[in-house]
Amino acid sequence: MFTNRFDFYRHPRGHFDRINAQMNALRRAMEEVEPSRARGTMPLANVTDRGESYRVELLVPGLGQDDFQVTFAAETLTVRGEVKVEAPEGYAVHRRERRPGPFVRSFTFAQPVDVDKIAARLDSGVLTIELPRSPELQPRRIPITVA
């Protein structure tokens, strides 16, 4: 950042401005990659590598099994759905914090998964999708025979 170590003392203000500008750029970049900070309809998700499988969990309170479409293609899992938050007829809205609207979330996996064994389960507003890894790619222990 400094061309030589005396630069800072010559123009301290300019350097602070530059640091500030870089911090702002970093914060904007983080907001782009971290969807939980974007306050739209984007169900929060966790992805865990469990060794023999990947587990994807999505927070979808109020959604039923027919409100989703889960697909897997080209190593990418895609979950589409819609959060419907409509005021019941004849009621006035007093407070509204839930966010309605359609959503799409995609997850790409570095290791191939066994497509036929992908399983999705919906329980208490949490959608859990288990994606077992392809068996031929799981680490295998090779026994050594002694001659």
Partner: protein, 127 residues
């Protein structure tokens, strides 16, 4: 529009116990007969919801039984903690007839207004 319910400050010292918690996300609707509270309680089982009305305050405490999966986290956007929220009931509701139902992690609470608060239409007789 009347304002029968107002969120109270949920950081009551007595409410803070050792379990971590977060405020529940809610929608509130109302009509002349009732106030309808809808709270998102993902990961909460029906038996783990507590609703209390005391001193004109409605308190919700949902206990989470979710366990974070073991393994290497690639994306960590949420942790399911207990969920709490308190609401001040500015206007009397019929406490004995509050109904609550938890389906798919969504809690619906119906708080009927006391009869005396329901506006009544009075016909004017024409002489």
């Amino acid at each position: 529009m009347t304002q029968p319910i107002e969120t109270a400050n949920a950081t009551d010292a007595q409410e803070l116990n050792d379990r971590p918690w977060s405020p529940a996300t809610v929608d509130i609707f109302e009509n002349e007969q009732e106030v309808l509270l809808i709270a998102e309680l993902p990961g909460v089982k029906p038996g783990d919801v507590q609703l209390e009305v005391e001193n004109g305050e409605l308190r919700l405490h949902a206990r989470s039984s979710w366990d974070a999966p073991t393994g290497e986290g690639h994306l960590n956007e949420f942790q399911l903690t207990d969920l709490r929220r308190s609401f001040r009931l500015r206007e009397s509701v019929d406490v004995d007839h509050i109904e609550a139902r938890l389906v798919a992690g969504l809690l619906t609470v119906r708080l009927p207004r006391l009869r005396s608060n329901v506006p009544r239409k009075i016909d004017v007789a024409v002489a």
